[in-house]
Protein backbone atom coordinates (compact mmCIF):
# COMPACT_ATOMS: atom_id res chain seq x y z
CA UNK A 1 0.00 0.00 0.00
CA UNK A 2 1.47 3.27 -1.06
CA UNK A 3 0.54 6.77 -0.24
CA UNK A 4 -2.78 6.06 1.31
CA UNK A 5 -4.35 8.72 3.38
CA UNK A 6 -7.45 7.91 5.28
CA UNK A 7 -9.51 10.79 6.31
CA UNK A 8 -11.88 10.74 9.18
CA UNK A 9 -13.64 13.96 9.97
CA UNK A 10 -16.48 13.65 12.40
CA UNK A 11 -17.57 17.12 13.26
CA UNK A 12 -15.84 19.58 11.04
CA UNK A 13 -16.15 20.32 7.34
CA UNK A 14 -13.60 18.90 4.99
CA UNK A 15 -12.08 21.00 2.30
CA UNK A 16 -9.72 19.63 -0.31
CA UNK A 17 -8.24 21.81 -2.95
CA UNK A 18 -6.41 19.30 -5.16
CA UNK A 19 -7.86 16.85 -7.62
CA UNK A 20 -9.32 13.86 -5.82
CA UNK A 21 -9.13 10.31 -7.09
CA UNK A 22 -11.23 7.55 -5.67
CA UNK A 23 -9.63 4.19 -6.43
CA UNK A 24 -7.21 5.89 -8.83
CA UNK A 25 -3.82 7.50 -8.39
CA UNK A 26 -4.17 9.70 -11.46
CA UNK A 27 -7.46 11.63 -11.25
CA UNK A 28 -8.38 13.39 -14.51
CA UNK A 29 -11.07 15.60 -13.01
CA UNK A 30 -11.62 17.52 -9.80
CA UNK A 31 -13.26 14.35 -8.51
CA UNK A 32 -12.52 11.15 -10.41
CA UNK A 33 -14.46 8.12 -9.26
CA UNK A 34 -13.06 4.88 -10.65
CA UNK A 35 -16.24 2.96 -9.98
CA UNK A 36 -19.91 3.58 -9.56
CA UNK A 37 -21.30 6.53 -7.68
CA UNK A 38 -24.39 6.39 -5.56
CA UNK A 39 -26.71 9.35 -5.11
CA UNK A 40 -29.10 9.18 -2.20
CA UNK A 41 -30.23 12.74 -2.62
CA UNK A 42 -30.50 15.08 -5.55
CA UNK A 43 -27.86 16.31 -7.93
CA UNK A 44 -27.56 20.07 -8.11
CA UNK A 45 -25.84 21.71 -11.08
CA UNK A 46 -24.58 25.26 -11.31
CA UNK A 47 -26.83 27.42 -13.45
CA UNK A 48 -24.33 29.75 -15.12
CA UNK A 49 -27.04 32.20 -16.15
CA UNK A 50 -27.64 33.31 -12.55
CA UNK A 51 -24.70 31.64 -10.79
CA UNK A 52 -26.92 29.55 -8.51
CA UNK A 53 -27.19 25.86 -7.80
CA UNK A 54 -30.27 24.23 -9.29
CA UNK A 55 -31.85 20.81 -8.74
CA UNK A 56 -34.16 21.47 -11.71
CA UNK A 57 -37.90 21.89 -11.70
CA UNK A 58 -40.33 19.01 -11.82
CA UNK A 59 -39.86 16.87 -14.90
CA UNK A 60 -36.65 18.45 -16.06
CA UNK A 61 -33.70 16.48 -17.35
CA UNK A 62 -29.97 17.06 -17.21
CA UNK A 63 -28.55 18.24 -20.52
CA UNK A 64 -24.89 18.55 -21.42
CA UNK A 65 -23.71 22.06 -22.27
CA UNK A 66 -20.44 20.84 -23.72
CA UNK A 67 -16.83 21.28 -22.65
CA UNK A 68 -16.11 23.78 -19.83
CA UNK A 69 -19.74 24.20 -18.76
CA UNK A 70 -21.76 22.36 -16.13
CA UNK A 71 -24.75 20.37 -17.40
CA UNK A 72 -28.06 22.22 -17.09
CA UNK A 73 -31.59 21.18 -16.19
CA UNK A 74 -33.91 21.54 -19.17
CA UNK A 75 -37.52 20.72 -19.97
CA UNK A 76 -37.86 18.13 -22.74
CA UNK A 77 -40.45 19.47 -25.17
CA UNK A 78 -41.60 16.37 -27.00
CA UNK A 79 -45.12 14.95 -26.91
CA UNK A 80 -46.14 12.19 -24.53
CA UNK A 81 -47.74 9.85 -27.04
CA UNK A 82 -51.31 8.93 -26.19
CA UNK A 83 -52.97 5.84 -27.60
CA UNK A 84 -55.14 6.11 -30.73
CA UNK A 85 -54.11 9.65 -31.51
CA UNK A 86 -52.50 10.75 -34.74
CA UNK A 87 -49.13 12.48 -34.71
CA UNK A 88 -47.26 14.13 -37.56
CA UNK A 89 -44.53 11.61 -38.41
CA UNK A 90 -43.39 12.14 -42.00
CA UNK A 91 -43.47 15.43 -43.83
CA UNK A 92 -41.77 16.73 -46.90
CA UNK A 93 -42.45 19.11 -49.72
CA UNK A 94 -41.32 19.16 -53.34
CA UNK A 95 -41.28 21.59 -56.26
CA UNK A 96 -40.92 21.31 -60.02
CA UNK A 97 -40.22 24.09 -62.52
CA UNK A 98 -40.21 21.86 -65.63
CA UNK A 99 -43.80 20.69 -65.84
CA UNK A 100 -45.43 18.94 -68.78
CA UNK A 101 -47.19 20.03 -71.97
CA UNK A 102 -49.65 18.53 -74.42
CA UNK A 103 -50.19 19.21 -78.12
CA UNK A 104 -53.53 18.54 -79.77
CA UNK A 105 -52.39 15.08 -80.82
CA UNK A 106 -51.42 14.19 -77.24
CA UNK A 107 -54.99 14.47 -76.05
CA UNK A 108 -56.30 11.60 -73.97
CA UNK A 109 -58.30 8.86 -75.70
CA UNK A 110 -60.12 7.86 -72.53
CA UNK A 111 -63.79 7.61 -73.40
CA UNK A 112 -65.46 7.29 -70.02
CA UNK A 113 -63.93 9.52 -67.36
CA UNK A 114 -66.25 8.27 -64.62
CA UNK A 115 -65.33 4.66 -65.32
CA UNK A 116 -61.59 5.32 -65.53
CA UNK A 117 -60.93 7.89 -62.82
CA UNK A 118 -61.62 5.63 -59.87
CA UNK A 119 -59.65 5.27 -56.67
CA UNK A 120 -56.84 2.70 -56.66
CA UNK A 121 -56.98 2.28 -60.46
CA UNK A 122 -53.55 1.45 -61.92
CA UNK A 123 -51.63 4.21 -63.69
CA UNK A 124 -51.23 1.96 -66.76
CA UNK A 125 -54.93 2.58 -67.50
CA UNK A 126 -54.39 6.33 -67.69
CA UNK A 127 -53.37 6.53 -71.33
CA UNK A 128 -51.66 9.73 -72.40
CA UNK A 129 -51.20 10.96 -68.86
CA UNK A 130 -47.76 12.43 -68.15
CA UNK A 131 -46.00 12.59 -64.81
CA UNK A 132 -44.49 15.81 -63.47
CA UNK A 133 -40.98 14.47 -62.98
CA UNK A 134 -39.87 16.56 -59.99
CA UNK A 135 -42.90 15.50 -57.97
CA UNK A 136 -42.27 11.74 -58.10
CA UNK A 137 -40.89 11.28 -54.61
CA UNK A 138 -40.48 8.75 -51.80
CA UNK A 139 -42.86 8.61 -48.84
CA UNK A 140 -42.17 6.38 -45.85
CA UNK A 141 -44.89 4.90 -43.65
CA UNK A 142 -44.06 3.58 -40.17
CA UNK A 143 -47.44 2.48 -38.80
CA UNK A 144 -50.35 0.43 -40.12
CA UNK A 145 -52.68 3.22 -38.97
CA UNK A 146 -51.86 6.29 -41.02
CA UNK A 147 -53.28 9.10 -43.10
CA UNK A 148 -51.19 10.56 -45.88
CA UNK A 149 -52.23 14.07 -46.91
CA UNK A 150 -51.17 15.58 -50.25
CA UNK A 151 -51.49 19.20 -51.30
CA UNK A 152 -50.71 19.93 -54.94
CA UNK A 153 -50.69 23.26 -56.72
CA UNK A 154 -49.73 24.19 -60.26
CA UNK A 155 -50.57 26.60 -63.06
CA UNK A 156 -52.43 25.42 -66.18
CA UNK A 157 -51.61 27.50 -69.24
CA UNK A 158 -52.52 27.46 -72.97
CA UNK A 159 -51.40 29.54 -75.92
CA UNK A 160 -54.97 30.49 -76.78
CA UNK A 161 -55.59 33.53 -78.97
CA UNK A 162 -58.12 36.04 -77.63
CA UNK A 163 -61.57 34.41 -77.53
CA UNK A 164 -63.99 34.90 -80.36
CA UNK A 165 -67.76 34.65 -80.09
CA UNK A 166 -67.67 30.84 -79.66
CA UNK A 167 -66.33 29.50 -76.39
CA UNK A 168 -62.78 28.13 -76.66
CA UNK A 169 -61.59 25.86 -73.86
CA UNK A 170 -59.64 22.73 -72.88
CA UNK A 171 -60.58 20.13 -70.27
CA UNK A 172 -57.70 18.71 -68.27
CA UNK A 173 -57.26 16.50 -65.20
CA UNK A 174 -54.56 15.90 -62.63
CA UNK A 175 -54.25 12.83 -60.44
CA UNK A 176 -52.19 12.08 -57.35
CA UNK A 177 -50.88 8.52 -57.44
CA UNK A 178 -49.20 6.41 -54.78
CA UNK A 179 -47.28 3.40 -56.09
CA UNK A 180 -48.98 4.11 -59.46
CA UNK A 181 -52.46 3.73 -58.01
CA UNK A 182 -54.88 6.65 -58.14
CA UNK A 183 -55.47 8.43 -54.83
CA UNK A 184 -57.21 11.58 -55.91
CA UNK A 185 -58.31 13.12 -59.23
CA UNK A 186 -59.47 16.64 -60.04
CA UNK A 187 -60.42 17.93 -63.44
CA UNK A 188 -60.71 21.50 -64.61
CA UNK A 189 -61.37 23.61 -67.64
CA UNK A 190 -59.18 26.36 -69.04
CA UNK A 191 -61.09 28.88 -71.10
CA UNK A 192 -59.93 31.56 -73.52
CA UNK A 193 -60.82 35.13 -72.59
CA UNK A 194 -60.56 38.56 -74.15
CA UNK A 195 -56.84 38.38 -73.38
CA UNK A 196 -54.68 35.77 -75.09
CA UNK A 197 -52.68 32.96 -73.42
CA UNK A 198 -54.96 32.43 -70.40
CA UNK A 199 -53.99 30.38 -67.37
CA UNK A 200 -55.52 29.19 -64.10
CA UNK A 201 -54.08 28.15 -60.75
CA UNK A 202 -54.99 24.54 -60.03
CA UNK A 203 -55.32 23.38 -56.40
CA UNK A 204 -55.80 19.85 -55.27
CA UNK A 205 -55.91 18.06 -51.92
CA UNK A 206 -55.97 14.29 -51.60
CA UNK A 207 -55.56 11.76 -48.85
CA UNK A 208 -55.10 8.04 -48.48
CA UNK A 209 -55.44 6.00 -45.30
CA UNK A 210 -53.53 3.02 -43.98
CA UNK A 211 -50.88 2.48 -46.62
CA UNK A 212 -48.71 -0.55 -45.93
CA UNK A 213 -45.67 0.09 -43.75
CA UNK A 214 -42.55 0.79 -45.74
CA UNK A 215 -41.49 2.89 -48.70
CA UNK A 216 -43.93 4.26 -51.26
CA UNK A 217 -43.68 6.58 -54.24
CA UNK A 218 -46.05 9.48 -54.73
CA UNK A 219 -46.41 11.06 -58.14
CA UNK A 220 -48.60 13.58 -59.90
CA UNK A 221 -49.75 12.97 -63.47
CA UNK A 222 -52.00 15.10 -65.66
CA UNK A 223 -53.61 14.87 -69.07
CA UNK A 224 -55.36 16.98 -71.68
CA UNK A 225 -58.83 15.44 -71.85
CA UNK A 226 -60.77 17.32 -74.48
CA UNK A 227 -60.67 20.49 -76.58
CA UNK A 228 -63.55 22.69 -77.66
CA UNK A 229 -63.19 25.07 -80.64
CA UNK A 230 -59.41 24.94 -80.26
CA UNK A 231 -57.07 25.64 -83.18
CA UNK A 232 -54.41 23.09 -84.16
CA UNK A 233 -51.09 24.04 -82.63
CA UNK A 234 -52.66 25.00 -79.31
CA UNK A 235 -50.45 23.65 -76.52
CA UNK A 236 -51.59 23.04 -72.95
CA UNK A 237 -48.93 23.43 -70.26
CA UNK A 238 -49.28 22.14 -66.73
CA UNK A 239 -46.62 23.50 -64.40
CA UNK A 240 -45.01 24.85 -67.57
CA UNK A 241 -45.34 28.17 -69.40
CA UNK A 242 -46.31 27.72 -73.07
CA UNK A 243 -46.45 31.44 -73.93
CA UNK A 244 -44.31 34.37 -72.86
CA UNK A 245 -46.93 36.15 -70.69
CA UNK A 246 -45.81 33.95 -67.78
CA UNK A 247 -42.63 31.96 -67.21
CA UNK A 248 -41.59 28.65 -65.66
CA UNK A 249 -40.89 30.37 -62.32
CA UNK A 250 -44.50 31.59 -62.11
CA UNK A 251 -45.91 28.29 -63.40
CA UNK A 252 -43.97 26.04 -61.01
CA UNK A 253 -45.66 23.16 -59.19
CA UNK A 254 -45.56 22.34 -55.48
CA UNK A 255 -46.47 19.10 -53.70
CA UNK A 256 -46.62 18.98 -49.91
CA UNK A 257 -46.83 15.62 -48.18
CA UNK A 258 -47.81 15.13 -44.53
CA UNK A 259 -48.28 11.70 -42.97
CA UNK A 260 -50.17 11.46 -39.69
CA UNK A 261 -49.76 8.17 -37.84
CA UNK A 262 -50.84 6.43 -34.67
CA UNK A 263 -47.34 5.38 -33.55
CA UNK A 264 -46.93 1.66 -32.96
CA UNK A 265 -43.18 1.28 -32.62
CA UNK A 266 -41.16 3.39 -30.23
CA UNK A 267 -37.43 3.87 -30.03
CA UNK A 268 -35.32 5.10 -27.17
CA UNK A 269 -32.82 7.87 -27.56
CA UNK A 270 -30.02 6.60 -29.76
CA UNK A 271 -27.85 9.62 -30.29
Amino acid sequence: MKNIISILFITIGLSLSAQIGIKTESPKAMLDVNGDTNLRGKLAALDVTNNSLSEGSDGQILVSQGENYPPTWKTLRIPEYEPNKFYLIFNNSFSDETGISFTSSEESTITSRSATFTKNRAYSNFTKFKKIAGLSQAVNIFSTVSKAYFQFETVVHANFPAAGTTDTSIDYACGIFVDDKLINMRQGNLRASSASNTFVIHNQIGLVENLAKGNHTVSVACSRLDSYNVADGTVLGIGRAVASNIDSFIAQSSLKVDVYEVPQVFNTITN
Partner: protein, 247 residues
Amino acid sequence: MKKIILITNLFLAILFNAQVGINTPTPVNMLDINGDLNVRKELRTGGTSTVKGSAGVAGTIFHNSSTLNVNDWKNIKVADGLTSMSLFQMNTMEDKAGVSFSGNNGSTSPYDEGATITTAWSVLTGTQATFSITNATNKVTFNFQTTAQKTGNGDESTSFACGIFVDNKLRAVRTDVIVGGDGTNKIFNLNATLSNLTPKNNYTVKAACTKRNINNNTLGIGKAVNPEFLNADMSQSVLTMSVLQPY
Protein backbone atom coordinates in the same frame (compact mmCIF):
# COMPACT_ATOMS: atom_id res chain seq x y z
CA MET B 1 3.76 17.54 -9.44
CA LYS B 2 0.09 17.10 -8.80
CA LYS B 3 -0.87 16.50 -5.26
CA ILE B 4 -2.83 13.30 -5.20
CA ILE B 5 -4.96 12.12 -2.42
CA LEU B 6 -6.01 8.57 -2.82
CA ILE B 7 -8.93 7.44 -0.82
CA THR B 8 -9.37 3.74 -0.56
CA ASN B 9 -11.76 1.56 1.25
CA LEU B 10 -9.68 -1.57 0.93
CA PHE B 11 -9.49 -1.98 4.61
CA LEU B 12 -11.24 1.03 5.98
CA ALA B 13 -14.68 2.39 5.30
CA ILE B 14 -14.64 6.11 5.52
CA LEU B 15 -17.46 7.89 7.24
CA PHE B 16 -18.08 11.58 6.76
CA ASN B 17 -20.82 13.10 8.82
CA ALA B 18 -20.05 16.64 7.78
CA GLN B 19 -20.35 18.30 4.42
CA VAL B 20 -17.40 17.78 2.10
CA GLY B 21 -16.10 20.41 -0.22
CA ILE B 22 -13.64 19.69 -3.00
CA ASN B 23 -11.78 22.79 -4.02
CA THR B 24 -14.07 24.89 -1.82
CA PRO B 25 -13.85 25.66 1.92
CA THR B 26 -17.59 26.33 2.14
CA PRO B 27 -19.56 23.35 0.80
CA VAL B 28 -23.29 23.96 0.51
CA ASN B 29 -24.42 20.39 -0.14
CA MET B 30 -23.33 17.09 1.38
CA LEU B 31 -20.71 16.86 -1.39
CA ASP B 32 -19.79 20.04 -3.18
CA ILE B 33 -17.37 19.70 -6.10
CA ASN B 34 -16.07 23.06 -7.27
CA GLY B 35 -14.87 21.59 -10.55
CA ASP B 36 -15.58 18.73 -12.90
CA LEU B 37 -16.65 15.22 -11.99
CA ASN B 38 -15.35 12.19 -13.82
CA VAL B 39 -17.75 9.25 -13.77
CA ARG B 40 -16.01 6.05 -14.86
CA LYS B 41 -18.85 3.66 -14.09
CA GLU B 42 -22.53 3.74 -13.24
CA LEU B 43 -24.14 6.79 -11.76
CA ARG B 44 -26.67 5.32 -9.35
CA THR B 45 -29.76 7.01 -7.94
CA GLY B 46 -32.03 6.14 -5.04
CA GLY B 47 -29.66 3.93 -3.08
CA THR B 48 -29.98 3.41 0.69
CA SER B 49 -27.90 1.67 3.36
CA THR B 50 -29.50 -1.59 2.31
CA VAL B 51 -30.45 -1.06 -1.35
CA LYS B 52 -28.07 -0.44 -4.21
CA GLY B 53 -29.10 2.54 -6.31
CA SER B 54 -30.42 2.28 -9.86
CA ALA B 55 -28.09 2.83 -12.79
CA GLY B 56 -31.08 3.19 -15.15
CA VAL B 57 -31.98 1.12 -18.18
CA ALA B 58 -29.96 1.87 -21.33
CA GLY B 59 -31.54 4.81 -23.15
CA THR B 60 -33.18 6.37 -20.12
CA ILE B 61 -32.27 9.88 -19.08
CA PHE B 62 -31.36 11.54 -15.77
CA HIS B 63 -34.50 13.23 -14.50
CA ASN B 64 -35.77 15.38 -11.66
CA SER B 65 -39.21 14.75 -10.16
CA SER B 66 -40.58 17.06 -7.48
CA THR B 67 -42.42 14.12 -5.88
CA LEU B 68 -39.20 12.19 -5.21
CA ASN B 69 -36.37 12.96 -2.83
CA VAL B 70 -33.86 11.59 -5.29
CA ASN B 71 -33.23 11.80 -9.01
CA ASP B 72 -34.55 8.99 -11.17
CA TRP B 73 -34.12 7.65 -14.70
CA LYS B 74 -36.86 8.47 -17.18
CA ASN B 75 -37.82 6.53 -20.30
CA ILE B 76 -38.31 8.66 -23.41
CA LYS B 77 -40.44 7.33 -26.25
CA VAL B 78 -39.64 8.47 -29.77
CA ALA B 79 -42.17 7.30 -32.36
CA ASP B 80 -40.72 5.24 -35.19
CA GLY B 81 -40.28 7.36 -38.31
CA LEU B 82 -39.30 10.63 -36.66
CA THR B 83 -36.01 10.49 -38.50
CA SER B 84 -36.67 12.06 -41.88
CA MET B 85 -37.64 15.68 -42.43
CA SER B 86 -38.99 17.13 -39.20
CA LEU B 87 -41.01 20.23 -38.58
CA PHE B 88 -38.60 22.72 -37.02
CA GLN B 89 -40.63 25.89 -37.27
CA MET B 90 -44.16 26.85 -38.15
CA ASN B 91 -45.89 30.18 -38.27
CA THR B 92 -49.05 31.69 -39.64
CA MET B 93 -49.70 35.38 -40.16
CA GLU B 94 -52.79 37.32 -41.17
CA ASP B 95 -53.26 40.72 -42.71
CA LYS B 96 -56.53 42.63 -42.72
CA ALA B 97 -55.22 45.92 -44.07
CA GLY B 98 -54.52 44.72 -47.59
CA VAL B 99 -53.28 46.84 -50.46
CA SER B 100 -54.97 48.59 -53.36
CA PHE B 101 -53.89 49.77 -56.80
CA SER B 102 -55.28 52.24 -59.32
CA GLY B 103 -54.01 54.54 -62.04
CA ASN B 104 -51.78 53.35 -64.87
CA ASN B 105 -51.26 49.72 -65.75
CA GLY B 106 -48.26 47.97 -64.22
CA SER B 107 -45.70 45.87 -66.04
CA THR B 108 -47.11 42.70 -67.61
CA SER B 109 -43.74 40.99 -67.99
CA PRO B 110 -43.04 37.77 -66.12
CA TYR B 111 -40.94 37.96 -62.95
CA ASP B 112 -37.46 36.63 -62.31
CA GLU B 113 -36.62 34.26 -59.49
CA GLY B 114 -34.42 36.06 -56.96
CA ALA B 115 -35.36 39.56 -58.17
CA THR B 116 -35.09 42.24 -55.47
CA ILE B 117 -38.36 43.79 -54.32
CA THR B 118 -39.14 47.16 -55.93
CA THR B 119 -41.63 49.95 -55.22
CA ALA B 120 -43.96 48.35 -57.77
CA TRP B 121 -44.72 45.73 -55.11
CA SER B 122 -46.96 46.58 -52.12
CA VAL B 123 -46.28 44.53 -49.00
CA LEU B 124 -49.12 42.95 -47.04
CA THR B 125 -47.61 44.18 -43.79
CA GLY B 126 -49.33 41.66 -41.51
CA THR B 127 -47.71 38.74 -43.34
CA GLN B 128 -44.17 39.68 -42.33
CA ALA B 129 -42.25 37.20 -40.17
CA THR B 130 -38.82 35.72 -39.66
CA PHE B 131 -37.49 32.18 -39.68
CA SER B 132 -34.15 30.48 -39.20
CA ILE B 133 -32.39 27.65 -41.01
CA THR B 134 -29.85 25.55 -39.12
CA ASN B 135 -29.28 22.63 -41.49
CA ALA B 136 -27.97 22.77 -45.07
CA THR B 137 -30.65 20.23 -46.02
CA ASN B 138 -34.01 21.92 -45.63
CA LYS B 139 -37.39 22.66 -47.16
CA VAL B 140 -39.40 25.81 -46.57
CA THR B 141 -43.06 25.72 -47.56
CA PHE B 142 -45.39 28.66 -48.04
CA ASN B 143 -49.16 28.59 -48.22
CA PHE B 144 -50.67 31.98 -49.05
CA GLN B 145 -54.29 32.85 -49.62
CA THR B 146 -56.03 36.16 -50.15
CA THR B 147 -59.04 37.65 -51.91
CA ALA B 148 -58.70 40.11 -54.79
CA GLN B 149 -61.47 42.45 -55.89
CA LYS B 150 -61.93 44.92 -58.76
CA THR B 151 -64.15 47.98 -58.98
CA GLY B 152 -64.54 51.15 -60.98
CA ASN B 153 -64.64 50.24 -64.64
CA GLY B 154 -67.55 47.92 -65.39
CA ASP B 155 -66.74 44.58 -66.96
CA GLU B 156 -63.11 45.36 -67.81
CA SER B 157 -60.76 42.68 -66.42
CA THR B 158 -57.92 43.30 -63.96
CA SER B 159 -54.73 41.30 -63.63
CA PHE B 160 -52.22 41.18 -60.79
CA ALA B 161 -49.46 39.08 -59.26
CA CYS B 162 -48.65 38.16 -55.66
CA GLY B 163 -45.32 36.76 -54.56
CA ILE B 164 -43.38 35.56 -51.54
CA PHE B 165 -40.21 37.48 -50.76
CA VAL B 166 -37.46 35.97 -48.61
CA ASP B 167 -34.87 38.55 -47.51
CA ASN B 168 -36.55 40.86 -50.06
CA LYS B 169 -35.81 38.47 -52.95
CA LEU B 170 -38.68 36.99 -54.95
CA ARG B 171 -38.90 33.23 -54.27
CA ALA B 172 -42.38 32.33 -55.57
CA VAL B 173 -45.01 34.21 -57.54
CA ARG B 174 -48.29 33.61 -59.33
CA THR B 175 -50.29 35.89 -61.58
CA ASP B 176 -54.08 35.98 -61.85
CA VAL B 177 -56.92 37.83 -63.58
CA ILE B 178 -60.28 39.00 -62.23
CA VAL B 179 -62.97 38.86 -64.90
CA GLY B 180 -66.52 40.09 -64.34
CA GLY B 181 -68.63 43.05 -63.38
CA ASP B 182 -67.95 45.76 -60.80
CA GLY B 183 -67.14 44.27 -57.40
CA THR B 184 -66.15 40.84 -58.72
CA ASN B 185 -63.77 39.10 -56.34
CA LYS B 186 -61.84 35.86 -56.40
CA ILE B 187 -59.74 33.75 -54.07
CA PHE B 188 -56.03 33.72 -54.87
CA ASN B 189 -53.79 30.83 -53.75
CA LEU B 190 -50.04 30.45 -53.82
CA ASN B 191 -48.37 27.30 -52.52
CA ALA B 192 -44.65 26.96 -52.97
CA THR B 193 -41.72 24.88 -51.75
CA LEU B 194 -38.15 26.14 -51.44
CA SER B 195 -35.24 23.72 -51.05
CA ASN B 196 -31.92 23.98 -49.28
CA LEU B 197 -31.73 27.61 -48.26
CA THR B 198 -28.33 28.60 -46.84
CA PRO B 199 -28.33 28.15 -43.02
CA LYS B 200 -28.86 31.54 -41.41
CA ASN B 201 -30.69 33.21 -38.55
CA ASN B 202 -33.63 35.51 -39.12
CA TYR B 203 -34.57 35.26 -42.74
CA THR B 204 -37.40 37.72 -43.33
CA VAL B 205 -40.48 36.62 -45.23
CA LYS B 206 -43.39 38.66 -46.56
CA ALA B 207 -46.12 38.48 -49.15
CA ALA B 208 -46.39 41.37 -51.61
CA CYS B 209 -48.54 42.05 -54.65
CA THR B 210 -48.30 44.18 -57.77
CA LYS B 211 -50.70 45.40 -60.44
CA ARG B 212 -50.45 44.27 -64.04
CA ASN B 213 -53.11 45.25 -66.54
CA ILE B 214 -55.81 46.88 -64.37
CA ASN B 215 -57.79 48.56 -67.18
CA ASN B 216 -58.58 51.71 -65.17
CA ASN B 217 -60.12 49.66 -62.37
CA THR B 218 -59.26 49.97 -58.72
CA LEU B 219 -57.79 46.66 -57.55
CA GLY B 220 -57.88 45.54 -53.92
CA ILE B 221 -55.83 42.60 -52.68
CA GLY B 222 -56.69 41.43 -49.18
CA LYS B 223 -58.85 44.55 -49.11
CA ALA B 224 -62.47 45.30 -49.95
CA VAL B 225 -62.56 48.07 -52.55
CA ASN B 226 -66.28 47.62 -53.25
CA PRO B 227 -67.97 47.07 -49.85
CA GLU B 228 -71.23 46.02 -51.46
CA PHE B 229 -69.82 42.52 -51.95
CA LEU B 230 -66.91 42.20 -49.53
CA ASN B 231 -65.59 43.35 -46.15
CA ALA B 232 -62.18 43.28 -44.45
CA ASP B 233 -62.92 40.04 -42.56
CA MET B 234 -63.83 38.25 -45.79
CA SER B 235 -60.93 39.61 -47.80
CA GLN B 236 -58.12 39.04 -45.27
CA SER B 237 -54.84 37.43 -46.28
CA VAL B 238 -53.15 34.49 -44.55
CA LEU B 239 -49.57 33.32 -45.00
CA THR B 240 -48.58 30.02 -43.39
CA MET B 241 -45.00 28.78 -43.48
CA SER B 242 -43.12 25.79 -42.22
CA VAL B 243 -39.45 24.87 -42.04
CA LEU B 244 -38.56 21.19 -42.49
CA GLN B 245 -35.11 19.85 -41.64
CA PRO B 246 -33.59 16.50 -40.74
CA TYR B 247 -32.25 16.07 -37.20
